[in-house]
């Protein structure tokens, strides 16, 4: 008998006399509190900042100058650019563009200073941005290896209030990365330290009418 059959057989014997399990009560809240879209964006900004992401706000006209300034302040000489990133976000040639390619090695990515991406959506109540590999986001690893990640969130249309509001909008067949603040550890005496293996600096740009 295969282990598969053995395990399934054991499960069936173990549950043969079990009572039917009651239905799952779904009376928990879809959203915690009533907010206007502006308040939701403000909550997202506050929760991101509390977990040490740097939050910026700008409109369409201000985006390119803001991104240029953030990269320059960081001293970035190279920036990873996922396919599908709107070309007008990073108009100038400096810093050097590195394109997200399937055949690039982790060592090549490790040599890049910064990465700029969009996102699939952001969740206000938890201060989370979610990437799904869609246009302007790239492969999972490009937001992992460089030490500096700038993520642009369109406000209000990419912002949802809560986790239950986020899941129906996501496609589970795509690889999903949920990011809440920069990489962190609390493994030493439960002192929170930002930055272990992922980017130590996460900047989130809320893009919308000012």
């Amino acid at each position: 008998m295969s282990s598969r059959d053995r395990i399934l057989g054991r499960i069936r014997r173990a549950t043969a006399t079990a009572a039917p399990a009651p239905a799952v009560p779904r009376d928990y809240l879809p959203v915690h509190g009533a907010r206007t879209p502006a308040q939701t964006a403000a909550l997202l900004a506050a929760n991101l900042a509390e977990y040490r992401a740097k939050v910026h706000r700008t409109d369409e006209d201000g985006l390119a100058p803001l991104l240029a300034r953030l990269l320059s302040e960081r001293g970035a000489r190279s920036v990873l650019v996922p396919a599908g990133l709107p070309p007008h976000w990073l108009p100038a040639a400096d810093p050097t563009r590195v394109h997200d390619r399937a055949d690039s090695t982790p060592y090549e990515l490790d040599a890049v200073d910064s990465v700029v991406t969009g996102c699939a959506l952001a969740i206000a109540e938890t201060g989370t941005i979610v990437l799904d590999g869609g246009p302007g986001q790239g492969r999972r690893r490009i937001t992992l290896i460089p030490d500096h990640h700038i993520c642009v969130v369109r406000v209000p249309d990419q912002v949802v209030d809560s986790v239950p509001r986020a899941l129906p909008l996501l496609d589970p067949t795509r690889p999903l990365t949920w990011i809440s603040g920069p990489s962190a550890t609390s493994d030493i005496e439960l002192d929170r330290v930002e930055g272990v293996h992922g980017p130590r600096t996460l900047e989130v740009v809320l893009l919308g009418a000012q």
């Binding site: 295969s2 282990s3 598969r4 053995r6 395990i7 399934l8 054991r10 499960i11 069936r12 014997r13 173990a14 549950t15 039917p20 399990a21 009651p22 799952v24 009560p25 009376d27 928990y28 809240l29 915690h32 977990y51 399937a102 982790p106 060592y107 490790d110 109540e125 938890t126 201060g127 590999g133 492969r139 999972r140 690893r141 992992l144 986790v163 239950p164 899941l167 589970p172 067949t173 795509r174 690889p175 999903l176 949920w178 990011i179 809440s180 603040g181 990489s183 962190a184 550890t185 609390s186 493994d187 030493i188 005496e189 439960l190 330290v193 930055g195 272990v196 293996h197 992922g198 980017p199």
Partner: protein
């Protein structure tokens, strides 16, 4: 492994360890209470989480088959492992087939449970733990002592010393003049591990959840070592307990809210990765899922004990447990310490060994663990149930077969006392005579019991003996009206065997109700 009281003895006497544990558990439990208080619907989420897990366990066969189908359709390969040995054999074979001699690992309780690192080492394959705390444990040739923060028993000075002494022999050495600031230590770990991440071709992980409906695997983490392991190598092997499946993608909305708040006391952990099979050009090109039984189906066969399989490994129960706080994680003698370990390990492994027979007693039954559990596992109920099994024996399922176990050794005195009590209560005259004799001899009452009762009186005062048995007092004072006769004495008799357990449960409930 000796029984829990012996195993805990050193820890209880170690002041540094107790200070480390006390600091850590109190910090996290206070933060957790604040994070939970933010959600007005916490109790509803808790009830929903419990129901999802119960639903899953009730139809576990169906959900595992659905999961297998979804993962396979998404490009993954599913393997089934009945026990630790089989799981290790499968993983070792998969790594060998890649031609690689090293793997990077993201923290996984399941692979620790089966001793995978040791099995790989025996096969000439080096396994590198990449979670900071796991790295500290591995470099220190130590054992994990907490589910979430396995190096909770170490302070920063100890960690600095371990890094300085050991990093060099595993790869990149610690920077010269390394201090003990957590920031510096994390940086040293970053440098040490980065070279391993960038060259790794094979990774081994666990998973927090697997979604039957879609085949999606989910890993919650904070540092990014998980993302490194899950996305950079060519081959990813995930070893996951069969109880980690949930029916639908939507079910994750519950656990994405309850798990981070219960474990790290955050609204959300920094990184969560979800992947479904393989994706062209993004992440590993080969994905293997090893579904692990290793005692889980036996646990499922126990009507009271099966609720332990609801556990989502948040570790909230450890942080509130007065016993864990003093004894530390090592005393539990398994990868699952604390209250959940006290009910999970003796079920996964059986109660045959000294340590497993003693674990159901490693608790005060105060009920704090139940109060904080995000899937409402009634840990005290299972503890009492397992105590009964240890003392009285009875039917259990081992490796799928229904067997009858005998009472554990070491409980002979307890059973003898019970038999004596039953005899006395069956014979009211003997009881009355005994009571009178005791009352007369009350001046001779020893402070400590001799023989097998000594351990009990090591930490307790023997109760005062009354000058006169209650029956005599009743007969003297109220002799004319009503009587506390033999019939009533007999009426109580049937319950005596269980009274201790029932009393414990009643006390706990009462305390729980008042707090």
């Amino acid at each position: 492994m000796p029984a829990f009281p012996e195993a805990a003895k050193d820890a209880v006497g170690d002041e540094v360890l107790r200070a480390n544990l006390r600091h850590a558990t109190h910090t996290i439990r206070d933060k957790r209470a604040r994070a939970v208080a933010e959600l007005a619907d916490w109790e509803l989420l808790r009830a929903a989480g419990k129901a999802v897990k119960d639903q899953t366990l009730r139809h576990l066969d169906r959900y595992l088959l659905q999961l297998e189908e979804s993962v396979t359709a998404a490009g993954g390969v599913v393997h089934w492992a009945a026990d630790a040995e089989e799981a290790n054999r499968i993983v070792t074979g998969l790594v060998r087939a890649t031609g690689e001699r090293e793997v990077v690992k993201v923290k996984s309780m399941a692979t620790q449970e089966i001793g995978l690192n040791e099995a790989l080492e025996a096969a000439g394959i080096a396994a590198y733990e990449t979670d900071l705390a796991e790295l500290i444990v591995q470099l220190g040739r130590d054992r994990p002592s907490h589910i979430l923060v396995p190096a909770i028993h170490r302070n920063r000075a100890e960690i600095r010393d371990i890094f300085e002494a050991e990093m060099g022999s595993w790869g990149r050495a610690a920077p010269a003049g390394l201090g003990d600031d957590p920031r510096e230590l994390a940086e040293a770990a970053r440098l040490h591990l980065r070279e391993k991440f960038l060259r790794a071709k094979v990774a081994v992980s666990g998973a927090n959840f697997m979604v039957a409906e879609t085949g999606t695997m989910v890993v919650f983490e904070s540092e990014g070592n998980g993302r490194m392991c899950l996305t950079l190598p060519d081959t990813l092997i995930s070893v996951v307990g069969i109880e980690k499946v949930v029916p639908t993608f939507r079910d994750l909305e519950i656990f994405l809210q309850t798990l981070p708040r219960s474990s790290t006391a955050e609204r959300m952990n920094p990184y969560t990765t979800m992947w479904t099979g393989t994706t062209d050009g993004d992440g590993p090109s080969a994905f293997h899922l090893v579904l692990l039984d290793n005692g889980r189906t036996d646990t499922l066969a126990d009507e009271v004990g099966r609720q332990a399989l609801r556990c989502i490994r948040c570790s909230a129960c450890l942080n509130v447990c007065p016993v864990y706080e003093r004894a530390g994680g090592h005393a539990y003698g398994s990868v699952y310490p604390g209250p959940i370990g006290a009910i999970l390990s003796p079920q996964l492994r059986g109660t045959g060994s000294e340590i497993d027979a003693s674990l159901p007693y490693a608790s005060t039954l105060c009920g704090a663990c139940y109060e904080v559990c995000p899937v409402a596992i009634d840990i005290p109920e299972v503890l009492v149930h397992l105590r009964e099994r240890v003392v009285q024996g009875g039917p259990v399922t081992r490796e799928g077969i229904r067997v009858r176990i005998r009472p554990a050794r070491g409980h002979a005195a307890e059973r003898a006392a019970m038999r004596a009590a039953r005899h006395l209560l069956d014979h009211p005259c003997a009881l009355r005579a005994g009571e009178r004799l005791l009352a007369r001899a009350r001046r001779l009452r020893p402070r400590r019991l001799p023989g097998p009762g000594r351990a009990w009186t090591d930490s307790r005062e023997l109760p005062e003996l009354p000058a006169e048995p209650f029956r005599d007092w009743w007969a003297r004072e109220r002799g004319g009206r009503g009587s506390l006769g033999d019939t009533e004495g007999r009426g109580d008799r049937g319950d005596t065997g269980d009274r201790g357990d029932v009393g414990d449960r009643g006390d706990r409930r009462d305390r729980g109700g008042r707090t």
